[in-house]
């Protein structure tokens, strides 16, 4: 591995970590989960309910803050 490649890998790691801590990867995780559900043949939806269509990025983030509104989490002292 050249020095440049090493630096690039390190920088990617830092960005990945920062995004993870701030929660920026939430949509990617949701999409991955949705895709996995689909792949597992769970098109009938869980618990026999109608299948959930994949939310767009904008819809997802709105839904996320709305869920926080309904279920607040404490922050410590």
């Amino acid at each position: 591995m050249t020095l440049l490649a090493g630096v690039r890998k390190g920088a990617r790691g830092v960005v990945w970590y920062l995004k993870g801590i701030l929660g920026e990867d939430a949509y990617e995780k949701y999409v991955a989960h949705h895709a996995a559900l689909h792949a597992a043949g769970a098109d009938d939806g869980t618990d026999g309910a109608a299948p959930h269509p994949l939310m767009t990025e904008r819809e997802f983030w709105r839904d996320q803050t709305d869920r926080q509104d309904a279920n607040p989490q404490g922050r410590c002292c």
Binding site: V15, Y17, L18, K19, G20, I21, L22, G23, E24, A26, Y27, K29, Y30, V31, A32, H33, H34, A36, L37, A39, A40, G41, A42, T46, E57, R58, F60, W61, R62, D63, Q64, T65, D66, R67, Q68, D69, A70, N71, P72, Q73, G74, R75, C76, C77
Partner: protein
């Protein structure tokens, strides 16, 4: 030994290799790896032990003129490493007994949103950001009046044996129960009486904690146009960030956090300019009462606004600042290595007459420093979001125990920062205005009259420091935050910028603390509002519907009024506020810890692990003795400086005798205020201690019942077979590396197996 536990606790047949690859390491192999001591391993742990031992000798035994701050850092880190490697492993093996064949809630309840498996290293940062706030920064500063040693020992030993144990157990037990909250677990384990008492105690404790955090911010912003401007600007900055994420670029959190951070720095620099203008002096030089009302109004509005507009964006900023600033302070302390000239144990440890917080070392040191050593509030976080995001059971040790060790390190750094400033300045800043008169002359006279060895305060020292940090005055800036800010700026200016940058660093630190606290105030009010609505819903069903606006607003108003009243009481208190109220904060937090540990003890007992019950009973016993005795002193002590009711009686009698001034209260109104405040504080102390005693007694009863009946009834969720694998700690062990490599080589379509039906 290790394998036997799995069969008794997992009724269904869990497989280690359900499909292509193992989802858990072979327990025998794990055990063998732990027991296999290579020469390198022995050398590393010997070096850690030796360095740790040497550091403790330098701190506790060697008595020079000064002690270098680096020994605090080494003593802490080496002790944490040993505690993590040996004590938490012991707890894991005998009490937690994790089983990676079992799916975690993030796997079996996966919804891609609230329940989502998160990389352990990311989750560690997440969890740390949620538990660490202003608490570990403030308590150690106030406890510094007793000397450096008692606080240091309590923070380091306390976290290893108590605080981290509590966080670890609660996190794991909640995870085994699908992420159930502390309140629900208390009800499950302790029955209706214990559960209800725990719920009420949690609600009352939350009110107190929010009020006292708000008091810390109020004290830091009063009479400071610079602080008011820069902290005030965080509101429009957060609103801008919220709108940006909502309407312009959803999800671009890192991007907007960096923009927000730049704006924040601009607000700090701008604050310096504004503070120098007539306009700033006229409109932003506010007294404590005005600021307190501002925070109350802000708290109400912030708690009813939608999360996306204010809370979420400020939370990103606060996380960003938290990780950055703490890292920066750690680097600065290691590079600058300040010399500390505070005595190891000061005269106030035994006399109990310290001007910062009243009371002797036992029990008041242990309630003054709560966060950083043992913090009950963490139990609410560890039974909230975090357990729903864990990938594998064995990761709870790293996240729960390890996360708390990190918070403890923050507390040690705050202590070092506070100890590094001149001791005379420390007491001038932290003695209440009632003692110093709020003037430079008064402060100098008061501090020099304390007769502390090596302390010779001059008026110039106070005015120079005030000028350097860009404040009108630093006399009686109680609450801990301004002292920490002075300490941080004192350390940072040696690294970057020199004296001319001190004012920037000071206000940077104030901003950093205010951000956490405002987030905690807002989030605390919201959580308390939901708890109140849930309870009220039992009598008025309509309140259960949390999206019913009038109900939500009424519940919010009640909670804000509750903490607002305590805040105003602290702000107007003729006796000084922080020094009478802060013990209440610590007692509340430790009582919550006692409640959490009581729940843990009942769970451990019900699992039949009586041989190892002492692991929980030890911190529970200590927390119970400390808080109950501190509460009793606050209730029954006849010394007016310590006992709320003694103080109440003294002032009532003076009023009855027709006196128009008494002690530090200059007027009849002030005397009446003392009578009122001490009554409220005393009643709150009684409420706390009674609730905590009920919870502890019900836990003892549950433990005794479990012992007598020898039953192993469990409230855990049913075990579900796991289909995924992830390593447990920050660094992979050799066996983990081998298995991880096999998983990495697996074709993508075989990796994720979701139970579809």
């Amino acid at each position: 030994m290790g394998a036997a536990s799995n069969t008794t606790e997992s009724p269904t047949a869990l497989k280690r290799i359900p499909h292509d690859l193992a989802v858990a390491l072979d327990p025998e192999e794990l055990d063998a790896h732990d027991r296999h001591w290579t020469p390198l391993k022995i050398a590393i742990w010997s070096a850690i032990s030796l360095l740790g031992g040497l550091s403790w000798v330098m701190l506790a035994v060697v008595r020079g003129e000064t002690v270098n701050a680096i020994w605090f850092v080494f003593a802490a880190i080496c002790t944490y490493l040993i505690g993590y490697r040996f004590y938490s492993k012991f707890i894991e093996k005998h009490i937690i007994r994790p089983d990676d064949r079992r799916a975690t809630p993030a796997e079996y309840k996966a919804d891609g949103k609230d329940f989502a498996a998160t990389d352990r290293r990311v989750l560690f940062g997440h969890h740390f950001a949620a538990i660490a706030g202003a608490g570990p920064l403030v308590g150690p500063v106030l406890a510094a009046q007793m000397g450096y040693l008692p606080g240091t020992i309590w923070i380091i030993v306390g976290v290893v044996l108590a605080g981290a144990v509590q966080d670890y157990l609660i996190l794991h037990f909640s995870m085994r129960r699908g992420g159930r909250s502390l309140g629900q677990m208390a009800r499950d384990e302790l029955g209706v009486i214990g559960g209800t008492a725990a719920l009420i105690a949690t609600l009352v404790i939350m009110v107190i904690i929010v009020a006292i955090l708000a008091l810390v911010v109020t004290n830091a912003l009063a009479e400071s146009p610079w602080g008011v401007f820069s902290v005030g600007m965080t509101i429009p900055i957060a609103l801008f960030m919220g709108c940006y994420l909502r309407f312009f670029r959803p999800g671009k959190i890192t991007e907007i956090s960096i923009i927000g951070f730049v704006l924040l720095i601009a607000a700090i620099i701008g604050g310096g300019v504004v503070a120098g203008t007539d306009w700033g002096q006229t409109y932003l030089l506010l007294d404590k009462v005005t600021i307190a009302w501002g925070i109350i109004l802000y708290g109400f509005i912030a708690a009813i606004l939608p999360v996306w507009l204010l809370l979420a964006p400020r939370d990103y900023l606060s996380t960003f600042m938290k990780i950055g600033t703490i890292g920066m302070l750690a680097v600065a302390i290691v590079i600058i290595r300040p010399e500390i000239s505070v005595p190891a144990v000061s005269e106030f440890a035994s006399s109990g007459t310290g001007p910062v917080v009243a009371g002797t070392l036992f029990p008041f040191l242990f309630v003054t420093i709560a966060c950083g050593a043992l913090s009950g509030f963490h139990a609410l976080i560890a039974s909230g979001t975090t357990p729903k995001l864990i990938q594998k059971e064995r990761q709870t040790r790293f996240i729960g125990y390890g996360g708390m060790l990190m918070e403890s390190l923050v507390a040690i750094m705050a202590l070092v920062a506070a100890l590094s400033i001149d001791r005379g300045i420390y007491f001038a800043m932290n003695s209440s205005p009632a003692l110093t008169g709020g003037t430079v002359q008064g402060a100098v006279a008061f501090v020099n009259s304390l007769g502390l060895t090596g302390v010779n305060l001059t008026p110039d020292m106070l005015t120079d420091m005030a000028t350097n940090v860009g404040e009108e005055s630093i006399v009686s800036r109680t609450g801990g935050a301004p002292t920490l800010a002075v300490g941080l700026s004192h350390i940072m200016q040696q690294l970057v910028g020199g004296t001319s940058m001190m004012s920037f660093w000071y206000h940077f630190a104030i901003m950093f603390e205010a951000l956490f606290i405002l987030t905690a105030v807002d989030a605390g009010t919201r959580v308390a509002r939901f708890m109140l609505q849930d309870s009220l819903g039992n009598f008025f069903p309509k309140f259960k519907n949390t999206s019913w606006r009038p109900g939500a607003w009424a519940a919010t108003a009640i909670m804000v009024a509750a903490w607002g009243a305590v805040l105003l009481m602290g702000v107007t208190d003729p006796l000084g506020g922080i020094n009478t109220l802060f013990p209440l904060f610590g007692i509340a937090n430790q009582l919550l810890a006692a409640i959490a540990l009581a729940v843990c003890m009942a769970i451990v007992a019900k699992r039949g692990l009586f041989r190892y019950l002492w692991v929980v009973a030890l911190p529970l016993g200590f927390a119970a003795v400390v808080t109950i005795s501190a509460s009793f002193l606050k209730i029954f002590s006849t010394t007016p400086g310590i006992g709320y009711f003694a103080q109440n009686r003294a002032f009532s009698e003076a009023l009855a005798a027709g006196e128009t001034s008494f002690g530090t209260a200059p007027s009849v109104e002030a005397m009446e205020a003392v009578v009122r405040n001490t009554m409220v504080q005393g009643v709150l102390s009684i409420v706390f201690v009674v609730l905590a005693i009920i919870v502890i007694l019900t836990a003892l009863q549950a433990t005794w019942n479990a012992y007598r009946k020898n039953s192993s009834a469990t409230s855990e969720d049913d075990a579900v077979q796991s289909q995924t694998y992830a390593p447990a700690g920050f660094i992979m062990t050799p066996p983990e590396k081998v298995l991880q490599a096999e998983w990495d080589a697996l074709p993508v379509h075989k990796k994720i197996k979701i139970k579809g039906h």
